[in-house]
C-alpha cells in the first residue's frame, strides 16, 4: 500500500472551555451546552450525539443557565442579560436586560408561557414568552438574598427558589412567598458560612429536591414546607440536579466529580403504592472536576463540568445491552475542524476563540524506514499570531491552499487578509473593503486555485467572492431550492474548480456548478447528518461520511450513487467501524492514487482503498498488525479496503499535503488535563 511521511504536530494548544450549563430538549432530543467562554453547542442525541451547531461566545458573556422553550433556546448570565438564540444563523437573536443584576438561573414553566429568572438583587422576574420576543411581566416578592436556582411546579402555579440558607416557594398568581424552607448549614468550620442552594427541582407531587453547598441532597414536602429526608452525598458542593421526565429518578452532580443517582423506590418489596421513597442508587465517577451541569434523558445520564468533557453515561437498565447505545461516550473535542491546512504551501492555521496562529511545518532529511522518526532539519515555525478584533469570538477561519489568503469570521464580521511570504517573513495586509454580503458567516473556504472565497451565509446560502491581487469582489449568492434554512456546516470545492458541495444540519447536501453558478443537484437526503464531505479530484464523485458512520459515494455526473457505494451499502460496513464513537471529521484524497480516500476521526486515521475488497463482518477490521507480520503475497490476499492506523490519537485534523506527506495534529487529552485547575483535594491513602 505504501509509506507515508507523517508530520506529527502537537503544538496546537487547543484548550476547550469548561461546561457551565446544560439543557436537554426531550422532544427534539437536542442537548444545549453552554461553556465558560459563552459559547453554546447543540448536540443531536438522536443522531449519534453529533455536535450540530456551535454558537460562538463573546467576551463578557458568561452563560449561567440555559432553557429550552419548545424549539427556542434562551440563556441568562451574570451580565444580567437574557439572550434568545437564532439557531439558524448561529448567533444571539436578541438580548434583553433584566435589570436585576447578575442572573443566576432561568427556568420556563411546562406550559411554555413564562420564563422566570433569578437575580442577584433577590427578585424572581417573570417574562411572558411571545412569538418573536419575551416581555417582562412582573416581579415576585423581593427577597433579601440572591436567587441561585429556580424550579417551576409542573402546574405552573408555584415556583421554588433556592437562595442562601433557604428555599422559598412562591405563588405565581399572587407573587407572594408562601413557604420558607430553611436549609441547614454544613457542620464544623463551614457552619459559619452561608449555605448556597445551588439547585432545586419541584416535582408534580409537590416534592422539592434541593442540592446545596454543604453537600446535601434534601427532599422536602412542598405543601407543608417540611424536610422529609437528607442525603449527605459529598463533603463539598452539590452543584447540579436533573430530574427524569417521568419523575422516577433524579441525579445530583457534585464538585467531587461524581454524579449520584436517586430513584423513587418502595422501601419494601411487596407493598406497591405507599412507602415509596427516594433512595440513592448509583454513583458515577466520570469527571475529575466539578460537575456543573446535568441532564437526565430517558436512557442516559449526561454530565459536564470543569474538566470540559461532555459525558453520556447510559443507564444500563434503560438500554438494551450490547447495543450502540449502551456504550459510554466522552465528547472531548469539537466535531468540526479547527485546523486549516494549505496543502501546497505546507502551512497550518490554528483557530482559537480569540486568535489565529499560522505555522510553517518543519522539514526533515531524506527518508527513513517505516517506524523511524526522522531528524528534523528545520523546525516548525510560528509565522503569525493574529488577534481578533472586537468582543465576539472567532467562529470559523480558512487558509487558501496556496497560503496567500487568510480569512476569519465572527458572528458580526468577516476579515480577509492577504499574506505575502518573502523568505522567512510574512507580511499581512488586511483587505479593507469587503462586499456587504460577507457579514454573517458560519463556514468559510477557498477554492483550490485560491481565486475564490466561499462563505456559508444565512438561510443556507453560499456567498461566492472572487479574489485577485488586493481586492475582492462579490460574485453571487448560491441558494438551493429546498425550504431548509438550517446553517451550512460543511463546504467543499472540487479540485478543478467546477463544483462546490455544501452540507447543512438538515442533513442535506447540495452541489453547485460554479461555472454556471447554480445548483447542480442535491444528494438524496440521508437520515444522519454528514460530518465530512469531499469531491474526488479525478472522478468528481462526492464522498460523504455521516454521523452514524455510514459512507456514501455519489457521482456528480450521473447524479446517482456509484457502484462502490451501492456495494458498500449492500454488504454493510464492518461492525467495529460502526461502533466507533467519534465522527469522521475530514475526507481527503491521494493525488497520486485515485483509489485512496483518507479519513480520520479522533482516534484513528484510515485510508480506504476502493480497489480492494470490502471487509466482511467476519474479517478483522484492524488488521494492520497482522498484515505487517505476513509475507508479501499472503498480505495482498488478506488485505481489505480499510487501512486503519491507530498510531496517532486525539486527532484534531489529518490532511494529505501535495508532496504526499500526511499532517496529523494531535492534542493529547493528558495535555488538556494538565492545564485544568487542580481538582478538589481528596484524601487518598495516606496522602
Amino acid at each position: 500500500m505504501g509509506e507515508f511521511k507523517v508530520h506529527r504536530v502537537r503544538f496546537f494548544d487547543y484548550m476547550p472551555s469548561a461546561i457551565r450549563a446544560m439543557a436537554y430538549n426531550s422532544r427534539t432530543e437536542r442537548l444545549a451546552v453552554a461553556r465558560a467562554d459563552g459559547s453554546v453547542e447543540i448536540f443531536n442525541f438522536s443522531d449519534n450525539y453529533f455536535q450540530e451547531k456551535v454558537i460562538p461566545g463573546r467576551d463578557g458573556r458568561a452563560v449561567e443557565a440555559l432553557c429550552w422553550v419548545g424549539q427556542r433556546l434562551f440563556s441568562a448570565g451574570l451580565n444580567g442579560e437574557i439572550t434568545e438564540y437564532d439557531l439558524e444563523n448561529l448567533k444571539p437573536q436578541y438580548v434583553i436586560e433584566a435589570y436585576g443584576g447578575p442572573i443566576w438561573t432561568i427556568s420556563c414553566n411546562n406550559q411554555g408561557t413564562h420564563l422566570a429568572v433569578g437575580c442577584e438583587d433577590g427578585t424572581v422576574k417573570l417574562f411572558e414568552i411571545l412569538k418573536e420576543k419575551i416581555q417582562f411581566q412582573r416581579n415576585l416578592d423581593r427577597q433579601k438574598n440572591r436567587i441561585i436556582s429556580l424550579s417551576w411546579h409542573p402546574s405552573g402555579a408555584q415556583i421554588a427558589a433556592g437562595m442562601m440558607d433557604m428555599i422559598r416557594i412562591f405563588d405565581t398568581e399572587t407573587g407572594r412567598a408562601t413557604h420558607r424552607l430553611l436549609v441547614e448549614r454544613g457542620i464544623g468550620a463551614s457552619r459559619s458560612r452561608e449555605v448556597v442552594v445551588w439547585s432545586v427541582a419541584f416535582l408534580s407531587d409537590n416534592t422539592i429536591i434541593s442540592g446545596d453547598s454543604a453537600g446535601k441532597v434534601q427532599i422536602w414536602d412542598g405543601l407543608m414546607g417540611t424536610l422529609v429526608r437528607t442525603h449527605l452525598v459529598t463533603k463539598w458542593d452539590v452543584l447540579a440536579l436533573a430530574v427524569s421526565q417521568d419523575e422516577s429518578s433524579f441525579i445530583a452532580g457534585t464538585s467531587q466529580g461524581t454524579v449520584v443517582q436517586f430513584q423513587f423506590l418502595s422501601s419494601t418489596v411487596d407493598r406497591q403504592d405507599r412507602d415509596h421513597e427516594w433512595v440513592s442508587t448509583r454513583t458515577f465517577k466520570n469527571h475529575s472536576h466539578d460537575v456543573r451541569a446535568l441532564a437526565l434523558t430517558d436512557t442516559a445520564v449526561v454530565s459536564g463540568g470543569m474538566d470540559t468533557q461532555l459525558v453520556v453515561h447510559p443507564l444500563l437498565d434503560k438500554v438494551e445491552k450490547y447495543t450502540h447505545e449502551a456504550a459510554q461516550r466522552k465528547i472531548a473535542f469539537p466535531h468540526r475542524s479547527l485546523v486549516g491546512c494549505a496543502k501546497k504551501a505546507g502551512l497550518l492555521l490554528f483557530q482559537f476563540p480569540d486568535h489565529l496562529e499560522l505555522w510553517r511545518l518543519g522539514e526533515s532529511d531524506g527518508n527513513g524506514k517505516p517506524g523511524d522518526s526522522l531528524t528534523v532539519k528545520r523546525k516548525p515555525e510560528k509565522l503569525l499570531q493574529l488577534k481578533r478584533k472586537g468582543d465576539d469570538h472567532i467562529c470559523c477561519s480558512a487558509l487558501s491552499p496556496c497560503g496567500g489568503w487568510l480569512v476569519y469570521s465572527t458572528v458580526s464580521s468577516v476579515r480577509l487578509y492577504k499574506l505575502q511570504h518573502n523568505n522567512n517573513n510574512v507580511s499581512v495586509n488586511k483587505i479593507s473593503k469587503l462586499p456587504k454580503e460577507l457579514r454573517s458567516v458560519h463556514q468559510l473556504c477557498f477554492s483550490a486555485d485560491s481565486s475564490k472565497l466561499f462563505a456559508a451565509s444565512s438561510q443556507s446560502s453560499v456567498v461566492v467572492v472572487s479574489l485577485n491581487q488586493l481586492e475582492c469582489k462579490y460574485v453571487q449568492t448560491l441558494r438551493h431550492k429546498s425550504d431548509s434554512r438550517q446553517p451550512i456546516h460543511l463546504l467543499y470545492p472540487s479540485e478543478d474548480g467546477k463544483w462546490l458541495a455544501a452540507a447543512n444540519t438538515d442533513c442535506q447536501i447540495h452541489v453547485y456548478n460554479l461555472h454556471k453558478m447554480k445548483l447542480h443537484c442535491s444528494v438524496p437526503v440521508y437520515s444522519s447528518c454528514p460530518t465530512a464531505v469531499a469531491i474526488h479530484p479525478a472522478t468528481n464523485n462526492l464522498i460523504s461520511v455521516h454521523a452514524d458512520q455510514q459512507i456514501f459515494e455519489f457521482s456528480l455526473q450521473q447524479k446517482e450513487y456509484t457502484e462502490w457505494s451501492r456495494k458498500l451499502q449492500k454488504q454493510g460496513l464492518h461492525g467495529l467501524w460502526l461502533k466507533r464513537d467519534t465522527p469522521v471529521t475530514s475526507v481527503g484524497f491521494n493525488p497520486k492514487n485515485p483509489t485512496h480516500i483518507v479519513l480520520n476521526d479522533t482516534f484513528m486515521l484510515c485510508i480506504i482503498d476502493q480497489s480492494l475488497p470490502l471487509p466482511e463482518s467476519s474479517t478483522i477490521l484492524y488488521n494492520q498488525m497482522t498484515l505487517r507480520s505476513l509475507p508479501a503475497p499472503e498480505r495482498t490476499r488478506q488485505s481489505h479496503a480499510f487501512k486503519i492506523c491507530k498510531n496517532f490519537q486525539h486527532l484534531l485534523s489529518v490532511s494529505l499535503l501535495d508532496d504526499l506527506s500526511l499532517v496529523v495534529v494531535e492534542r493529547p487529552l493528558l495535555d488538556v488535563m494538565s492545564q485544568l485547575p487542580p481538582p478538589i483535594r481528596q484524601k487518598k491513602f495516606a496522602t
Binding site: V6, R8, F11, S364, P370, G371, I607, S639
Partner: protein, 725 residues
C-alpha cells in the same frame, strides 16, 4: 517507652521583672516523695504536699534578710535547715512558727549550700570549697574555714550523693573558662579534682546532673550547643598525691540534641535512670524552633520517647522526685508525672504494641519496676489475707484487684488462685494500658517459678504471652523456664510472639526440641493451626509428582543415580514401590511443628552459627533430614506454603540447610550415615543451578520484551514514517 503524663500546678511563681529567673531557689524532698520544700529566691520556705497540691507550712525570714541557699530537710532529726545572708545557719522544726525564734548559728565564712540526703548527714559546702559536716560545724561555729579553691575559682553547681556507705559532695567550679569537677569524700575526707574537657571556646555547661550506679558516679552535663556529655567517675578510693594537678575527666557524647538556630540559653538535662534523660528548654525535633519543651530521651537508642510543650518561659530549672518532674515555667511551677519503663530494643523500634499514654493515670499505680521487684516488699499482708477469704467465698463479687495486689498475690498464693486472679486482671484491664503490667506480671511469675520449683502456672504464662505485649527482653528467663519445665506449648508461643529472641536461646530451644523423644513431644498440646499444617504436609499423597518450580524429585533422583533408564519406567517403578525414604517425615508430628517454629524465628546467621556448632552430629543429621523432607514437599507443591500463615517458607528452609551445612560440614563429611543426605542435597543444588541457568537464557528475551514496551516520548513535533499495508 517513657511517657509524660498530664501535669498539674503546684504553686504560682513570682518571677523577677525581666523574667530572667523563676523566683525559685530550690526544691528539696521532705519526709517522702510526696512532700517537698520549696525555697524562693527571697525570704520564704514553703512546704507542700504534692499529690494534694496543698500548702502545709511556710516560714519567712525577717525583712532585710534573704535566704541564700535552698532549705533542706533532715529526715533523721525532722529538722529544716537553711542559710540566710550567706553566714547564718538556721535550723527549725515543723511546729516552729517564727523563724526568728528558731536556732541560729553564724559561721565565719560564706556558705554555698547545705546538702542533706536521705541516709546521709547534713553537709555544709562553703563558697571557697571547704566542706564540713553540719554537726561538727555547729560544735564550733566560728572555727576557721580553709580556702580550697583558687582565686577566681567559683562554685557553679553542687550536690551530694550517698554511695553505699560513703557520702560524697560533688561540685563543679569555673576558673577563667575552665571547668572543674570536685569530688569530696567524707570520712575519710579526700578531695579529687578533675578538669572537664573544653567544649567550643566561650561555651560553658548549662546544667549538671549526677547519679550513682554500679559503683560509679555518672555526671551528665548539657552544653548550649545541645551536646549532652557523660563522664563516669569511680568511687573507689584513688591514691592521689597532695596538690596534684586536676586530672582530665574523660567524657562521652551521650546525645546531640537539636538546638535549632542559635544556642540554648536556659536549658537543663537531668538523669532519670540509666537509659533516660529529661531535657527542658530544648526544641522538640519535630515541632519547630520553640524551646519550651520538656522531653524524655532514651540515650541507649538516641530516640525521643516523650515530649510535652510547656506554656510560658522556661527557666532551665528542673527537679525530679519520685517519678515526678518539677518545672517552673511562665508563672507557675508544674508537676509532670512520668514513667520510664525498662526499655528494650523491640519496644524502642516499635515492634511491640505500644501502650497508649493518653489518659492521666496516677503513676503511683504503675510504679517503676525496681520498686515492685525490690522496694515495697514490706507491704502488709493483711489485705491479702482478707482477699483470700473473699475470693474463696465468691469469685463473681471480687472487687478488681490493682496490679500491686495481683503482684503480691503471685509472690505468695497457690497456683490456682494466681491463675484465677491473673486471668481476672487480664480480662478486666484494657489492652491499651496492659503492656507495663503484663511485663511485671510475667517477670514476677517467672521469678517465683524459678525460686519455687513446685510453683508453675503454664496457662497463666501462656495467656500473658498471648497478649502480645511481652517480649524476650522484658522477661529473659521465660523461655528457658518453659524449656526447663518442658512446656513446649509455651515455647512455641514465645517463639511465635517474641520478636527478639536471642540466637543462643533459639539454639537452646532447637537443641531441646530435637532431643526430645517423639513420645514426649506427642503429649504436648500445641497450637492447632500449626499442627494442621504439618498434618496436611505429611498426609499429602507422595506419589503425585508434578514439576514445580522447574524441579521434580524424580528427575533429581535420576540425576543423582546417573540412571540411564527411561523416565517412564522409572516413575512407574517408583509408583509400585513404597514412598522413598526422603518422602517420610523423619520426626514425629509435634516435633516437626516445634521445629517449624524454630525455622520461622528471626535470626542473624553470624550470631546463630557459633551456637549451631554445639549440636551433636546425630541431631544435625536428623534436622537436615527433616529440612530435606520439607524441601521436597515444598518443591512438589508450592500451594503448601499458602495453606496457613504460620508455616516456614522455602527460603527459610534453605537458609537453615545452608546454616547447618556451614556449621557442621566437616563433621558431616566424615559421618557415614550423612552421605546419602549430602548427595541428595547436592542434587537439589544442581537442579536449582540448572533452573537458574534456564532462567538466564530467557532473561534476554524478557529484556527485549521490556524494551519493546517503552513508548517513545513524542515531543511537540516530529516527522515519522509509517507504512500501511
Amino acid at each position: 517507652m517513657a511517657a509524660l503524663y498530664e501535669g498539674y500546678t503546684l504553686c504560682g511563681l513570682v518571677p523577677d521583672q525581666n523574667l530572667s529567673s523563676s523566683g525559685i531557689q530550690g526544691i528539696e524532698e521532705e519526709r517522702d516523695g510526696d512532700h517537698v520544700v520549696v525555697t524562693d529566691s527571697a525570704r520564704s520556705v514553703t512546704l507542700y504536699k504534692v499529690s494534694d497540691q496543698k500548702l502545709l507550712g511556710s516560714w519567712t525570714v525577717k525583712q532585710g534578710q534573704t535566704l541564700t541557699c535552698s532549705a533542706v530537710f533532715n529526715s533523721q532529726t525532722k529538722e529544716y535547715m537553711a542559710v540566710s545572708d550567706n553566714k547564718v545557719i538556721r535550723i527549725w522544726k515543723e511546729e516552729d512558727i517564727q523563724l526568728d525564734k528558731a536556732f541560729k548559728a553564724t559561721v565565719s565564712s560564706d556558705i554555698w549550700m547545705v546538702h542533706c540526703v536521705h541516709g546521709g548527714e547534713p553537709v555544709v559546702l562553703f563558697k571557697r570549697g571547704a566542706v564540713r559536716l553540719l554537726d561538727s560545724l555547729l560544735a564550733a561555729p566560728q572555727q576557721p574555714i580553709e580556702e580550697v579553691l583558687n582565686q577566681e575559682e567559683n562554685i557553679r553547681w553542687s550536690t551530694t550523693i550517698v554511695a553505699e556507705t560513703q557520702q560524697f559532695v560533688i561540685f563543679t567550679t569555673e576558673q577563667k573558662g575552665d571547668h572543674f569537677l570536685h569530688l569530696q569524700r567524707l570520712n575519710p575526707n579526700t578531695l579529687q579534682r578533675y578538669r572537664l574537657e573544653r567544649e567550643e571556646p566561650g561555651v560553658s555547661p548549662l546544667s549538671f546532673s549526677a547519679s550513682y550506679r554500679d559503683k560509679h558516679i555518672h555526671l551528665l552535663y548539657l552544653y548550649p550547643n545541645g551536646h549532652v556529655y557523660q563522664s563516669v567517675v569511680s568511687v573507689q578510693l584513688l591514691v592521689v598525691e597532695e596538690g596534684a594537678q586536676a586530672l582530665p575527666l574523660p567524657r562521652s557524647l551521650l546525645l546531640g540534641l537539636p538546638v535549632g538556630n542559635g544556642l540554648l540559653e536556659a536549658a537543663s538535662a537531668m538523669v532519670l535512670d540509666e537509659a533516660h534523660v529529661a531535657v527542658v528548654g530544648v526544641p522538640h525535633p519535630s515541632a519547630g524552633a520553640g524551646k519550651d519543651f520538656l522531653c524524655i530521651w532514651n540515650t541507649n537508642f538516641q530516640t525521643l520517647q516523650a515530649g510535652k510543650e510547656m506554656a510560658g518561659k522556661i527557666y532551665g530549672q528542673l527537679w525530679s522526685f519520685s517519678n515526678k518532674l518539677f518545672i517552673p515555667h511562665g508563672k507557675i511551677l508544674s508537676i509532670i508525672p512520668f514513667e520510664c519503663p525498662k526499655s528494650s530494643l523491640a519496644s524502642a523500634l516499635g515492634k511491640l504494641r505500644q501502650a497508649k499514654t493518653e489518659e492521666c493515670k496516677a503513676p503511683a499505680s504503675v510504679p517503676s519496676w525496681n520498686n515492685i521487684l525490690h522496694g515495697e516488699k514490706a507491704q502488709p499482708s493483711r489485705t491479702v489475707e482478707t482477699r483470700k477469704t473473699r475470693t474463696t467465698r465468691k469469685t463473681q463479687s471480687t472487687p478488681s484487684l490493682t496490679i500491686d495486689q495481683v503482684l503480691d498475690l503471685i509472690k505468695m498464693a497457690p497456683v490456682e488462685e494466681v491463675q484465677k486472679e491473673v486471668e481476672g486482671f487480664l480480662s478486666r484491664a484494657d489492652l491499651q494500658d496492659l503492656q507495663p503490667s503484663v511485663g511485671q506480671l510475667a517477670s514476677t511469675l517467672v521469678s517465683r517459678s524459678l525460686n519455687d520449683p513446685a510453683f508453675y502456672s503454664p496457662s497463666t504464662l501462656a495467656q500473658l504471652v498471648h497478649t502480645q505485649c511481652l517480649c524476650h527482653s522484658v522477661c529473659p528467663d521465660l523461655v528457658l523456664l518453659a524449656l526447663e519445665k518442658k512446656d513446649y506449648f509455651l515455647c512455641q508461643l514465645c517463639l511465635q510472639f517474641f520478636p527478639d529472641i536471642p540466637e543462643a536461646v533459639t539454639c537452646a530451644c532447637l537443641k531441646a526440641f530435637i532431643s526430645v523423644p517423639d513420645v514426649d513431644a506427642e503429649k504436648a498440646r500445641l497450637e492447632p493451626d500449626s499442627i494442621s499444617f504439618m498434618e496436611t504436609l505429611i498426609s499429602r499423597e507422595c506419589g503425585q509428582v508434578d514439576l514445580q518450580n522447574g524441579f521434580s524429585p524424580t528427575s533429581c533422583e535420576e540425576d543423582c543415580s546417573e540412571d540411564v533408564r527411561g523416565h517412564q519406567t522409572r516413575t512407574e517403578a517408583k509408583k509400585k514401590t513404597s514412598a522413598p525414604p526422603e518422602q517420610i517425615c523423619p520426626v514425629g508430628l509435634h516435633k516437626a511443628v516445634l521445629l517449624n517454629e524454630i525455622l520461622q524465628t528471626a535470626h542473624s546467621d553470624s550470631f546463630l552459627l557459633p551456637h549451631l556448632k554445639d549440636l551433636s552430629s546425630q541431631h544435625v543429621v536428623l534436622f537436615l533430614q527433616y529440612l530435606q523432607f520439607l524441601y521436597l514437599k515444598y518443591s512438589q507443591d508450592d500451594s503448601l506454603q499458602m495453606h496457613g500463615c504460620r508455616s516456614p517458607s522455602l527460603a527459610q528452609v534453605m537458609d537453615w540447610v545452608c546454616l547447618l551445612l556451614d556449621a557442621h560440614f566437616t563433621v558431616l563429611v566424615m559421618t557415614p550415615e550423612a552421605k546419602g543426605l549430602l548427595l541428595n542435597l547436592h542434587s537439589f543444588v544442581r537442579s536449582q543451578v540448572r533452573l537458574v541457568s534456564e532462567l538466564g537464557k530467557i532473561e534476554f528475551s524478557l529484556q527485549e520484551l521490556k524494551k519493546m514496551k517503552v513508548k517513545k516520548d513524542v515531543g511537540q513535533y516530529s516527522i515519522e514514517v509509517i507504512e500501511l499495508f
